[in-house]
């Protein structure tokens, strides 16, 4: 089998397993939202809904049909992008997700960049100084950040950098007195850059910095830890020793042989972390008043808004599945041993 064939086969297997995971997600979400509640229409319509509203919900979501029929429409609706109308706002749920999701992407991407850069940098320093005081200091630092509860870390960031030092705003995505740029990507900073609106761009960066740094600080530890282990492993591997024995320059050995091999795990972990952050920013979004999908989900939970909650949960899970798929693919590209091993 050629390398290309191996890769293709591996890809197909991974895509197939992702599809199975997606089917599983659909079944679980359906069971929780439709089958476990004795009267889902009443629950979905909200605590103070009138009988007419309850009936409308029942008809719209086929809740008066047998479960297999309900499941058919459930899957059909969501696969065709027919997320329905938010009963509280009267707006298209797909449109609402289209507003909130890019905001979360902005926060997640910004923090992911910081996480990877900071994580790898510190992991490298730590590994190179294995056993030394720098290594110990970095390990204490990342363990402390990693062990910090999100709520506490975010609150401390607000108190320290916004309340006392007044370096950043304590919340929000941009100044509410500004006019937002025309929507291109939905990501505020990017759209303001595309439209050349520097006031918006500056305000966007100013508001993004603290929540992104906070999210990064609370999550870079795992990258540092993995980068450190991988680099250490690579550092003591025979091919590195062999390269050194050949008299290759130390800089070349570090970059080409140690760092490059050490980053394989970081790449894949970064992709997984993207999915994790996507669905895990609720607390940070709440504390920083960041209008992201996590906060949207939180509001939907608080308002008993099942018609919104179901597609949001699906978006989260699809995000995680895709991130895992990307991680697998990256891993297989960067480390051929994976696909040669039969595509685990």
């Amino acid at each position: 089998m050629t390398t290309t064939q191996e890769l293709t086969l591996f890809l197909l297997k991974r895509v197939a397993s992702s599809i199975f995971a997606l089917i599983g997600v659909f079944i679980i979400v359906f069971l929780v939202s439709h089958a476990l509640s004795p009267d889902p229409a009443r629950l979905w319509a909200g605590p103070k809904a009138k009988p007419s509203t309850i009936y409308a919900v029942e008809v719209r979501y086929h809740l008066n049909q047998p479960y297999p029929t309900q499941f058919y429409y459930f899957v059909k609706d969501y696969l065709t992008g027919n997320f329905g109308i938010d009963p509280l706002t009267g707006k298209s749920i797909a449109g609402e997700i289209g507003y909130y999701l890019p905001n979360t992407l902005e926060l997640v991407l910004a923090s992911l960049v910081i996480i990877v850069v900071l994580g790898v940098f510190l992991g490298y320093i730590s590994a190179i100084n294995f056993g030394g005081y720098r290594d110990a200091a970095i390990r204490v630092f990342y363990l402390a950040s990693w062990a910090t509860p999100t709520y506490l870390g975010a609150m401390l960031a607000v108190l320290g950098f916004a309340t006392y030092l007044k370096l950043f705003p304590s919340g929000g995505m941009y100044s509410p007195t500004l006019t937002p740029p025309p929507k291109v990507t939905g990501i505020f900073v990017l759209d303001s850059l595309i439209s050349g609106n520097w006031a918006d761009f500056s305000s966007g960066i100013y508001h993004l910095t603290l929540p992104a740094l906070t999210l990064a600080f609370l999550n870079f530890g795992i990258i540092t830890r993995v980068a450190r282990s991988s680099i250490l492993e690579a550092r003591w591997s025979p091919h590195v020793k062999s390269a050194a024995a050949k008299g290759l320059p130390m800089r070349s050995i570090r970059v080409r042989h140690i760092l490059r091999n050490g980053l394989i795990d970081v790449n894949t972990l970064g992709a997984v972390m993207f999915g994790w952050l996507l669905s895990g920013t609720v607390v940070v979004e709440q504390i920083f008043g960041w209008p992201g999908i996590g906060q949207f989900a939180y509001s939907a939970i608080a308002a008993d808004n099942y018609p919104v909650l179901i597609p949001v949960v699906l978006v989260f899970t699809v995000g995680v599945i895709i991130a895992n798929l990307v991680a697998d693919l990256l891993y297989s590209v960067l480390d051929p041993r994976i696909r040669l091993g039969g595509g685990r």
Partner: protein
């Protein structure tokens, strides 16, 4: 080449990056620093008037002080963002707070009073002797922020729009008004969408001027409300003006609605959900969902050129130019108040001691009526659960709870024990509870009553009495884990009941599951006991009494008693204060003697703002920070 050299280079590169980032941040920050405002005096907050009156007299104006200078902006922070900005849809305090600034109704509470009213879009009004007809004479020269005029046709449209959209809070009007007279006249969505409200045709007028309907236009500036078409049946309603102070009755621009989807029966309007065009002193500048709402002064406000003698507090032009309301968690709000980022915040009463210690901040414990308008807590015992059919058991439960201990432990002492269903601080509370003492804590008596009811019971000293009696069956005590107050109260009540031999198990549900169950008509076998609460829909004692005595929900023990319901009808329809007081007293006594609900406590409500912010006119009807109606009077000293 030693590793040390490589490490040093890496550190140097890292250091350079850090320096660049810090320099950039400092640069951006320095260019964004603002000058903090100064602080000085404190705000005077008057207690709520408990004066009881159902007068139809005309209120003209309250004195309007000249606006101080330097009133550029105010930052306000609270926990929940609006559920909607459409006055016909919003049913939560944050939504009402914003709507009350941008839209206007016919009347508003008269300053701090909860029983008298001032005209807003109505210049004055009269009530027929039988209380069935309210005639409003509207102000002339009123217009929306886009210039469209307000008149009686627009008000007709606005009321019917609310009724036809039929959203959850529409019952506030639907008690007395309906879009059909049930015989030969019905207003539907297409009727509303087809009328020209600024230059009505004779055909349009024939519809709006038809006399046998809930809302009848008499002239361009005169409109009559005929009560008796709603689900209350043909009877007057002495809290009708209170219902008109709610957003349900606020004027919306028919042209704007028509241009953005029109009226659709039983449906919300997505444009109106997040856009606002009203007659009020503020306009919506932006709503960044999940972040903030910004209001700016309406530059085209109809009352801008009125003289001081023509104004009252509810219509006077706004003083502060921009109000931004951010939505954040409590800790972040307190931090922002402390740092001067926010000038007003909303915070639970449990944070009183923290807030009190912040210099430059005014924290006022408002009269208990404000707490009542927010929440009154009680314990229900569903009589579908056999043991609770025994009055001795219910009485035993009433003695088993240490009410003062609950208030101390759960609310830090900042609450009152009360006797419902009239909420403490509201009109007629004193008369309704005259001669009654709140339920007392007496664990010995509780155990004795339980034994008397035939159950094995335990005295506080551990002695088991009636050892051959039945073991009280175990059951779930429901509360919502979303509420800290309920969570803590449930644990304490569980322990106290267990102590006398009632094996209650405090069982939490999420608020969605909890509220879904609470508002179910009938009994609950799974949760025969639970902590429930009630918040006002409009500021009137009858709102609480009707909800608690008439609805038959799980949260009220599925309690339906025809005698009590008749008294409630009497209290709702009479214009004689003595009759109303007597009806409330009868209801209170009957429920008290039968231990139908165990009235627990009402927390106090806090007004929290920077010392230099003043002008708030507190009223339990208000949604501004939960305690005042309008931001137009707010300013800096």
């Amino acid at each position: 080449m030693s590793p040390k050299n490589g490490i040093s280079r890496a550190l140097v590169v890292g250091l350079v990056v850090v320096i660049i980032v810090v320099a950039a941040i400092v640069g951006v920050t320095i260019t964004r620093r603002t000058t903090p405002t100064s602080t000085s005096t404190t705000t005077q907050i008057s207690p709520v008037s408990t004066q009881s009156s159902t007068s139809s007299s005309i209120q003209t104006s309250t004195s309007v002080s000249p606006p101080p200078t330097n009133q550029s902006s105010l930052v306000v922070e609270e926990g929940e963002q609006p559920d909607s900005l459409d006055p016909a849809v919003t049913y939560e305090t944050p939504g009402w707070e914003v709507v009350e600034q941008v839209y206007q109704g016919l009347v508003a509470p008269n300053g701090t009073s909860v029983t008298s009213y001032v005209g807003v879009l109505a210049q004055n009004w009269s009530v027929s002797p039988n209380g069935m007809t309210y005639t409003f004479y509207l102000r002339k020269g009123v217009h929306f922020s886009n210039g469209d005029p307000f008149n009686a046709y627009v008000e007709w449209f606005s009321i019917y729009r609310t009724l036809i959209m039929n959203q959850a809070p529409s019952f506030i009007l639907g008690q007395n008004l309906a879009y059909t007279n049930g015989v030969n006249f019905t207003v539907n969505a297409s009727t509303l969408n087809s009328i020209n409200y600024f230059d009505p045709s004779p055909q349009n007028l024939s519809v709006m001027e038809y006399p046998y309907q809930s809302v009848q236009v008499v002239g361009p500036y005169e409109i009559v409300f005929h009560l008796g078409y709603g689900y209350n049946g043909y009877s007057p309603y002495n809290a009708f003006l209170a219902t008109l102070t709610t957003p349900m009755a606020y004027a919306v621009d028919p042209a704007v609605v028509e241009a953005n989807g029109g009226v659709v029966a039983n449906q919300t309007n997505s444009w109106m959900f997040s856009n606002m065009v009203g007659t009020g002193f503020y306009m919506l500048k932006s709503w960044i969902p999940g972040q903030s709402i910004t209001l700016v002064k309406n530059p085209n406000y109809w009352a801008d050129n009125l003289s001081a003698s023509q104004l009252n507090y509810a219509i006077q032009p706004a003083i502060i130019n921009t109000i931004t309301i951010y939505y954040k968690p409590t800790t972040a709000r307190i931090a922002d108040l402390k740092s001067g980022v926010a000038q007003m915040i909303e915070a639970p009463v449990q944070d009183y001691s923290t807030l009190e210690g912040i210099p430059g901040i005014n924290v006022t414990k408002l009269p208990i009526a404000f707490g009542s308008s927010e929440d009154i807590y009680y314990l229900y015992m569903d009589q579908g659960f056999a043991p609770f059919q025994n009055i001795l058991v219910r009485e035993a439960v009433s003695y088993a709870i240490d009410y003062q201990g609950l208030i101390k432990d759960v609310l830090g002492g900042l609450g009152v024990q009360y006797i419902g269903p009239v909420p403490p601080g509201f009109p007629f509370y004193t008369q309704a509870t005259a001669g009654l003492q709140p339920y007392q804590y007496n664990a010995t008596k509780a155990a004795e009553l339980l034994a008397q009811a035939g159950y094995r019971a335990t005295l506080p000293n551990g002695t088991v009495i009636n050892p051959n009696g039945q073991q009280f069956p175990s059951f779930n005590l429901l509360y919502t884990s979303d509420s800290t107050t309920e969570t803590e109260a449930a644990q304490i009540i569980q322990a106290e009941l267990n102590a006398i031999g009632i094996p209650a198990t405090a069982t939490p549900l999420t608020f969605q599951q909890y509220s879904g169950l609470m508002y179910t008509v009938g009994n609950s076998t799974q949760y025969p006991m639970g902590i429930a609460f009630y918040s006002e829909d409009y500021t009137a004692s009858i709102d609480y009494v009707e909800a608690i005595t008439e609805n038959g929900y799980v949260s009220t023990s599925a309690y339906l008693n025809s005698t009590i319901m008749n008294w409630a009808v009497e209290a709702a329809t009479s214009f004689n204060n003595q009759t109303i007081a007597q009806a409330f007293a009868n209801i209170t006594r009957a429920m008290y003697d039968q231990y139908i609900l165990i009235w627990l406590f009402t927390p106090y409500f806090l007004a929290i703002h920077a010392d230099d912010v003043t002008g708030m006119i507190p009223n339990p009807a208000g949604s501004g920070m939960g305690y005042f109606m309008f931001y137009n009077t707010v300013h800096y000293t």
